[in-house]
């Protein structure tokens, strides 16, 4: 091996090892808000356990096979001037092959057993917890999530409130195309398939705002179909439930009254505001819109600035979304936007 070859090999080797090393230990590399390497619930934890089994087996194989491979490459390189020497000819050895095959099968069992156990565990809420589980129906729409609590009589959107330590029994459905319900820190995903009721469950162990994302390609704004799971202690959750059950607050200021009137002249055909007579089911239920932290399916902070921008140009804020004002010939003046903003923000 000549010097430049050696330098080349060392450089590439150093680069690869460096790359793999930096990848794994780069700060923030594996603990983003959507990382499933950080888990906060039993379902995600089980799935991560299986993941580590697969990593263990793979790393073992990688080191063993990779070691033999690298050793062979360096050990058996042709010496200068002996390029065309013919080495001893071997054709294979049945015993070695058989041993390797049996060994591979055994390695697969190491993964298969925890995998099977985890699959049955994450399939449905364990029997002993079934009574206290809260039922949720998650319905995927282009491009937002509708969340219904059938036992509590609540319908909300994009922010799923749950109490910590309680299993959440989720029915995943779709209103149009395929979507997938995924909150990585709490549980693996489940697809929303039109005409099909898919079940999954999760449980949050610590109060937090957990990030979720639709993970089945669903069209123009697939990238913008985000949501949150707001895990709270039982008291906060109960308080939230009591508030959600109420009708929308009555408009108080002049702006809010004007906003409501405007809302009932068009927005109501797609959006519901319980108690105000708006009963649209195409878009998110806005009865308690003002109490949500985000806007446009987890895209923006729910504040005056973003809400104003949204009302002025929903297509620019979220390409392709079904709130297309030009299509329905709806023209909003500046004061209209201001009134609507005030009204919507009052819907705590």
């Amino acid at each position: 091996m000549n010097a430049s070859r050696l330098i080349q090999t060392v450089l590439v080797g150093a680069f690869l090892i460096g790359l793999y090393f930096v990848s794994l230990f780069y700060p923030g590399g594996l603990d983003g808000p959507q990382s499933f390497m950080v888990t906060n619930g039993p379902v995600a934890a089980q799935q991560k356990t299986v993941f580590w089994y697969t990593v263990g087996v793979s790393l073992f194989l990688m080191v063993a096979v990779g070691g033999v491979f690298l050793y062979a490459i360096f050990k058996f390189r042709a010496k200068p001037g002996e390029d065309f020497k013919v080495p001893e000819q071997t054709h294979g050895d049945a015993k070695v092959e058989l041993a390797l095959i049996l060994f591979s099968c055994a390695l697969l069992l190491v993964i298969a057993i925890p995998n099977a156990k985890a699959l049955f565990y994450v399939d449905k809420v364990p029997a002993e917890h079934q009574e206290k589980a809260i039922k949720v129906v998650a319905i995927g729409h282009q491009w937002w999530w509708e969340f219904q609590y059938p036992d509590l009589g609540i319908t909300t959107a994009n922010e799923l409130h749950v109490p910590v330590g309680v299993p959440i029994d989720v029915e995943v459905r779709s209103a149009d195309v395929l979507h997938s319900f995924w909150v990585p820190r709490l549980a693996g995903k489940m697809d929303a398939v039109p005409g099909q009721i898919n079940k999954m469950w999760f449980q949050a162990d610590t109060p937090d705002k957990y990030y979720g994302h639709c993970t089945e390609y669903c069209g123009d704004s697939h990238a913008n179909m985000r949501f949150f799971v707001m895990a709270e202690d039982q008291d906060t959750f109960d308080k939230w439930v009591r508030n959600e059950k109420k009708d929308a607050v009555k408009p108080a200021s002049v702006e809010e009254v004007n906003g409501q009137r405007l809302f009932m002249q068009g927005c109501n055909s797609c959006h519901a505001v319980q108690g105000a007579g708006a009963m649209g089911v195409v878009g998110p239920n806005l009865t308690h819109f003002g109490s949500r932290t985000s806007l446009g399916a987890g895209l923006f902070t729910n504040d005056t600035e973003h809400l104003t921008k949204w009302l002025e140009d929903p297509q620019g804020m979220k390409p392709g979304n079904l709130m297309n004002l030009e299509q329905v010939n709806m023209v909003l003046s500046n004061s209209d936007v201001k009134n609507l903003t005030a009204y919507l923000q009052s819907l705590k």
């Binding site: 680069f15 490459i73 001893e88 697969l108 693996g188 993970t215 390609y217 392709g320």
Partner: protein
């Protein structure tokens, strides 16, 4: 019926059996020996192979440009370069182009060029059908890409999951181009698969039993069986979707009793074997290169062959592992999880035997060997992440994240493309008569190796960190920023490596070192003949007595047989494959517009069909054509 490969002992016997040179009732066959018409009408498997290769490389460049545009958009959070639908078109076309127009035809290029040479044949079984496959492939490829100029490219992702491609959710003709294009490409693939299957079964040199076939021929055989069995399901699915879109049927419309999930089953019953259609040929190529450059026979030849067949078979038993999260129920998930992990065993067997091949060898590390070694390493990494997905419980998290993107690019670029570049470097001297420049080749290889790993390894991290696939933007607080920028820069390095490879091909084509017949001291029959081979390939068909027969002949000092006054019948060229390809193109293009204007589009489709019909009649009636060659007189022209 006599075939064109008959060797006639004396010219006197020829005319009765083979009316060589007589025009059919539609006029004489084309005879240009060179130039554009020669290439357009050729039925020589070598020229067709070269054209497949050039088209495939052009589409790999196109798909690569699409990939770079995707990476530019993802370089920084909330970028505005390609937003919404146009981004979706870009990744749909990137996947479709790379799989159907890039890697598949590149493997077809090797089937065409190499298989007849390796089995000691003069051409494939049906030379005109071979040209037909090529031109129908070109028609389908052009059709899909025309969509960019006719209202927008397909935007349903390469899997086209209904109902996102159903008429209710996908207005415009984007998906129609995709459907028609894939249907046309399917015709080309199935015709080619029948052709290669017949060629390999029927046209091997005397003495070449199945277990004396080179492994590349074996993998070609298995791949073509897979194509034959896998394309009908996708064709059915595409026709159903076509019915939904064009004639208001409801196969995938849930609101009218259709069943969206059926699309996924149809698609993956095709789609998973398709993965092996892409990877088995490069495995075959690597199994040719490793023994040649280790100067040892392939370790465990029968095991490599049977594990290839087993992988192909199991390919039909694992499709639902793409659907673990589609709500199939825990028993189905577990069953497919187990069948999937079983595939790791034959794959492992192949890797062990490749290691056994280089173990104790005398390795020459020229570029073909480097790409082959890179294939083993990178494919193994893709295999390891494959084992990770096979555990369904873990896959619930990994599914549709960048972890998956990393996995299949390790398999398809680190695996398939590495293997195909190995093949290109290996057979370039046979095809052009000149060896690729080694210095440029090394530069291209190391840039490829570094660029590839730097592009795709960090995607594992992005996936574990929760970055979903097929999104065009992400927030700055997600922890995706650093690696996305890193990946984008690396993608340009990877692209540069391809540029170097192409520069090397162009340079070496004109200025490369002359190869001679056998530059690598090869083991299989193609190295016994001149580079490039004469039109009839072998002066006289050799008698095969061993696996790696040419190596055996060289080691024992047996010469290859030469011609002794025997004449070789070579088939004539034909216009009609091209005509049929054109007719199919017109017909499918017009059909796309049936929903807009039934009369005009219908007329166009009928015209296309008539052209097609004319082509078929012309084909049937043009007569055998061809000529009798005397290899002893031709010899000077090729050496």
């Amino acid at each position: 019926m006599a075939t064109h490969t008959d060797v006639v002992t004396t010219p006197a016997h020829a005319p009765a059996a083979l009316p060589v040179g007589e025009p059919g009732i539609l006029g004489p066959r084309p005879t240009s020996p060179t130039g554009v018409w020669d290439w357009l009408t050729t039925i020589d498997h070598k020229k067709i192979g070269i054209m497949y290769g050039l088209f495939a490389l052009a589409f790999i460049v196109l798909g690569g440009i699409e990939a770079l545009l995707i990476r530019v958009q993802l370089a920084i959070p909330n970028n505005n370069f390609l937003v919404g639908d146009i981004y979706n078109q870009m990744f749909t076309m990137h996947g479709t182009t790379m799989i159907f127009l890039g890697v598949m035809p590149l493997t077809a290029a090797f089937f065409n060029y190499v298989v007849p040479l390796q089995i000691g044949a003069r051409d494939v079984a049906f030379p005109r059908l071979n040209a037909f496959s090529l031109w129908v492939f070109v028609a389908g490829a052009v059709l899909i890409n025309l969509s960019w100029f006719l209202g927008g490219a397909p935007n349903g992702a390469w899997v086209g999951y209904a109902p996102i491609t159903s008429p209710q959710f996908n207005v415009g003709h984007n998906s129609d181009f995709w459907i028609m294009g894939l249907l046309v490409l399917g015709v080309a693939s199935v015709a080619a698969s029948l052709n290669f299957f017949t060629t390999i079964i029927n046209m091997r040199a005397p003495g070449m039993s199945l277990m004396r076939m080179p492994v590349f021929v074996w993998m070609t055989l298995i791949t073509n069986v897979l194509i034959l069995l896998a394309f009908p399901p996708i064709t059915i699915a595409l026709v159903q979707l076509l019915m939904d879109r064009t004639f208001g049927a409801n196969f995938f419309n849930y609101a009218k009793g259709g069943m969206p999930i059926m699309w996924q089953h149809w698609f993956w019953v095709f789609g998973h074997p398709e993965v092996y259609i892409l990877i088995l040929p490069p495995m075959g190529i690597v199994s040719e290169i490793l023994p040649t450059f280790s100067r040892k026979p392939l370790y465990g030849y029968p095991l490599i062959v049977f594990s290839g067949a087993f992988i192909g078979f199991m390919g039909f038993a694992v499709w639902s592992h793409h659907m673990f999260t589609a709500g199939m129920g825990v028993v189905a998930v577990l069953a497919f999880s187990i069948t999937t992990s079983i595939i790791a065993v034959p794959t492992g067997v192949k890797i062990f035997n490749w290691l056994g091949t280089i173990w104790g060898g005398n390795l020459r590390t020229e570029t073909p060997m480097l790409y082959a070694l890179s294939f083993i390493a990178m494919f193994s990494i893709g295999g390891f992440s494959g084992i990770m997905h096979s555990a369904a419980a873990a896959d619930y998290q990994q599914h549709d994240t960048y972890f998956i993107v990393a996995h299949f690019h390790y398999v398809l670029i680190g695996g398939a493309i590495s293997g195909l570049l190995a093949g290109l470097s290996y057979w370039f001297p046979k095809i052009t008569g000149r060896i690729l420049n080694e210095k440029l080749g090394l530069a291209a290889f190391w840039t490829f190796f570094v660029g590839f790993n730097a592009t795709f390894f960090p995607m594992h991290i992005l996936g574990l960190n929760g970055m979903p696939r097929r999104i065009y933007n992400y927030e700055a607080n997600m922890g995706f920023n650093f690696w996305n920028m890193f990946v984008t820069i690396s993608a340009f390095i990877l692209a540069f490596s391809f540029l170097l490879f192409f520069i090397n091909m162009a340079y070496s084509f004109f200025k490369g070192k002359v190869a001679g017949n056998d530059p690598w001291d090869g083991r299989t029959l193609e190295w016994a003949i001149s580079s490039p081979p004469p039109v009839y390939n072998f002066e006289a068909i050799p008698e095969v007595t061993h696996l790696d027969d040419f190596w055996h002949k060289k080691q024992t000092g047996q010469p290859m047989p030469t011609a002794n006054g025997q004449l070789i019948h070579m088939p004539g060229a034909s216009y009609y494959p091209l005509v049929i390809g054109f007719g199919m193109f017109v017909m499918s293009l017009a059909s796309i517009y049936l929903t807009d204007n039934m009369l005009a589009a219908g007329t166009g489709a009928v015209v296309g069909f008539l052209i097609l019909l004319f082509g078929i009649y012309g084909w049937a009636l043009e007569g055998p054509g061809g000529e009798m060659l005397d290899p002893t007189k031709e010899r000077g022209a090729y050496n």
